[in-house]
C-alpha cells in the first residue's frame, strides 16, 4: 500500500532531464527544490520501516507515520492542520503553509533566521515542534505589513540599509519588533545585547542597531 504510494509520488515528482533542461513543466526553482528534497527524504526512510508500515507487521511503526491534528492561527488566519510530531514550526510554515519569508539558517537555534512571534513572544521556530503550538497565534514576517504599507521596522531597515544579502533580515526584523515591544531597546548597548540571538554574516549590525533605535525613539506603537 504505502510502497505503491511512494512509487507513485516518485514518478509524479521525478523530473526528466528534458524538463530540467527546458523547464517545460513550468516549474519554479522552488518547486524543483521541493520535489528533489522529497525524493531525498523518501530514499532515506529505512527499508525496514517502509516494509513494516506496508505490511502492518509492527503497529508501532505505523503509528509513527500518524499525523496529529493541529489548530493554530498564523498571521490572524486560523488553520486546521495535520502534522507529523517531528515537524518543526519552521518546516510547517515553509513547507506546508508556503510562508517562505521565515528562513532556515542553522536549524539549531544558533542564528535566529527562523525567528517568529508565538503569542506575541519571539522564538526560534526551528527549535519548536509544530504540535507544541496547539491553539497558539503565530506572526511571521508576512504578517507585519498592513497591505502595501510597510511595518515601521521594515521601513527603518530599508532606510538604514540594515542588510546586504537579506537572508537574516526576516528574523532580524521579527526579533527587532519584539526587542522594542519588550522595552529592551533603550541604548545601542542594550539593543546589541538583546539582538545577539540574530546573526548577520554580512555584518550589517551597525545599520540594524540604527534602524531599531530610530523606531524606538519615534515612539510610535508597533
Amino acid at each position: 500500500m504505502l510502497n505503491n504510494d511512494i512509487r507513485q509520488s516518485l514518478l509524479l515528482f521525478k523530473p526528466t532531464m528534458a524538463e530540467l533542461d527546458n523547464n517545460q513543466s513550468g516549474d519554479t526553482r522552488r518547486d524543483f527544490l521541493k520535489k528533489s528534497s522529497l525524493f531525498t527524504a523518501l530514499s532515506l526512510t529505512p527499508l525496514t520501516v517502509l516494509k513494516a508500515a506496508e505490511g502492518k507487521v509492527d503497529e508501532r511503526f505505523a503509528e509513527l507515520f500518524e499525523k496529529i491534528p493541529l489548530n493554530l492561527k498564523v498571521n490572524n488566519k486560523p488553520y486546521v492542520l495535520k502534522v507529523e510530531p517531528r515537524a518543526t514550526l519552521l518546516d510547517l510554515l515553509r513547507e506546508q503553509l508556503h510562508l517562505t519569508g521565515t528562513k532556515k539558517g542553522c536549524d539549531h537555534g544558533q542564528c535566529g533566521a527562523c525567528t517568529v512571534h508565538v503569542d506575541g513572544k519571539r522564538v526560534n521556530s526551528c527549535l519548536s515542534l509544530a504540535v507544541m503550538n496547539e491553539g497558539k497565534s503565530i506572526t511571521t514576517i508576512e504578517g507585519l505589513a498592513k497591505g502595501d504599507e510597510l511595518h515601521p521596522m521594515q521601513a527603518a531597515f530599508i532606510k538604514h540599509d540594515g542588510f546586504q544579502c537579506g537572508y537574516c533580515t526576516p528574523g532580524q526584523i521579527m526579533s527587532a519588533v519584539a526587542c522594542v515591544r519588550e522595552g529592551h531597546a533603550n541604548s545601542k548597548e542594550e539593543i546589541r545585547e538583546y539582538m545577539s540571538g540574530n546573526i548577520c554574516r554580512c555584518g550589517a549590525y551597525p545599520n540594524i542597531v540604527d534602524a531599531i533605535q530610530e523606531v524606538k525613539e519615534k515612539g510610535t506603537a508597533i
Binding site: 509513527l64 496529529i68 510530531p85 519571539r122 507544541m132 545577539s196 540571538g197 540574530n198
Partner: protein
C-alpha cells in the same frame, strides 16, 4: 529527526505515569536543547510527553521563600519584579544565558536538565562516555578548551553549560521533585552530580521523577552582587568561566558570602571554603585574592584549558570587586 509518538499531559500525576511506564519515553518542556539533540541524533526518544500544559508556571513569595514553578520561562523569571528586587543575582545570571528567543521558551526545569555542549558529546562519530558509556572520552587528550578543571574523572571532563544554575546554587535553592510516591526535596547543590564512572548521569533525578518547583529563601545578598561571564564573544556564547558572587557587607566587614562558578565542572561549582574564608573578614583586595587562591585548590588543567587555571581566580577577584563596589 527520527519520528516519535507525541502525547500531552496537563496533570503532573498523569505525566509521571506516562514516563515511568515507558523506558523510551521522556518529557519535553521548552525543547530548545532536546530538539537540537534529536536533530543531531544524539538522543532518539520513542515517545515525548509534552508537559507545557502542566500548571507549574507560577512565581510566588510565601513565608520568606520564593517558589518558582518548573515551567516558568527563563525570560519570565529574569523579568519578574520580585526576582529583580530581591534576587538580582539570579536575574543577572539568567540574562547572561542564551538569547532572548531561547529564554522565552526555555523553562527553569529544562535549563537544569540541559546536556553538556562538549563537542564529543554532540558528534555521534566520536567516542563519548556520556553519550555512549564505555566508548571513552574524546576530550581527554583532545580538544578540551571549554572543559572542566574541577571534579573531573577518567571518564569525563565535560562541563554543565547553565548560567541560571550557577546563580541558583549560590542562592541556596532547593529543588522540589515529584514522583509516584509524592514529593521529595533536595538542595540545589546536590541536584547535579560529578561524572565519576557514570558520566551518562548528569544529575540525581530518577526515571519517573519530575522537577516541579524551586524554593529560594530570602536573604540579604541583593545589594552587593555580580554575575561575571567570560566568553569568546560579548553575548550569546557559553561561558569559559563564570562567577556568581554575593556579599553581605556591614561597616566594611563581610557578614555573609556566596560564591559559585560555571564553565569549570560537571555541575555548578559552589566555592564553600572560599565563602567561609571571607566571612568576618574585611572586604578588600587582599582578602579577595586569598579567597580566589583557596577556591582554586584541586584545580587541574587538561592542556587546551590550562588558561582557566589563571582565568578562574582572576574572574573570582573581579566578580567580588564589582560586587563590593555596588553598594
Amino acid at each position: 529527526m527520527i519520528n516519535f509518538q507525541y502525547l500531552r499531559a496537563s496533570v503532573v500525576k498523569i505525566a509521571l505515569s506516562l514516563v515511568s511506564k515507558d523506558p523510551k519515553a521522556t518529557f519535553i518542556a521548552g525543547g530548545t536543547n532536546l530538539i537540537d539533540l534529536m536533530k543531531r541524533g544524539v538522543t532518539a526518544p520513542e515517545k515525548l510527553i509534552d508537559i507545557n500544559k502542566l500548571p507549574l508556571a507560577q512565581i510566588e513569595l510565601k513565608n520568606n521563600v520564593l517558589h518558582i514553578g518548573a515551567m516558568v520561562s527563563n525570560s519570565a523569571l529574569a523579568e519578574d519584579s520580585i526576582v529583580k528586587e530581591q534576587f538580582p543575582l539570579l536575574a543577572l545570571a539568567l540574562q547572561s544565558g542564551a538569547s532572548a528567543q531561547l529564554r522565552n521558551v526555555a523553562t527553569v526545569g529544562g535549563n537544569m536538565m540541559q546536556r553538556t555542549r562538549c563537542g564529543y558529546f554532540y558528534d555521534t562519530t566520536m567516542p563519548c562516555n556520556k553519550r555512549q558509556p564505555g566508548t571513552g572520552c574524546g576530550a581527554i587528550g583532545g580538544y578540551n578548551r571549554m572543559h572542566a578543571i574541577f571534579g573531573t574523572s577518567e571518564s569525563c571532563i565535560a562541563v554543565h553549560p547553565s548560567d541560571m544554575c550557577v546563580g541558583l546554587v549560590a542562592l541556596d535553592a532547593q529543588v522540589v521533585i515529584a514522583n509516584a510516591k509524592g514529593e521529595r526535596k533536595i538542595s540545589f547543590a546536590d541536584f547535579h552530580r560529578l561524572p565519576g564512572s557514570t558520566p551518562e548521569k548528569d544529575n540525581n533525578l530518577q526515571k519517573g521523577e519530575l522537577i516541579v518547583r524551586l524554593e529560594i529563601p530570602t536573604n540579604n545578598l541583593y545589594k552587593n552582587f555580580h554575575y561575571l561571564k567570560v566568553r569568546d564573544r560579548s553575548s550569546y556564547a557559553f561561558a569559559l568561566v563564570s562567577v556568581a558572587a554575593a556579599l553581605e557587607i556591614s561597616q566594611g566587614i563581610i557578614k555573609n558570602a556566596r560564591l559559585a562558578m560555571g564553565g569549570v565542572a560537571h555541575k555548578p561549582w559552589r566555592l564553600v571554603e572560599a565563602e567561609n574564608f571571607l566571612k568576618g573578614k574585611t572586604a578588600n583586595a587582599s582578602n579577595f585574592e586569598d579567597a580566589a587562591r583557596i577556591a582554586m585548590y584541586g584545580a587541574k588543567g587538561f592542556g587546551e584549558n590550562d588558561f582557566k587555571l589563571k582565568l578562574a581566580p582572576n574572574s573570582i577577584i573581579e566578580a567580588l570587586t564589582v560586587a563590593k563596589a555596588k553598594a
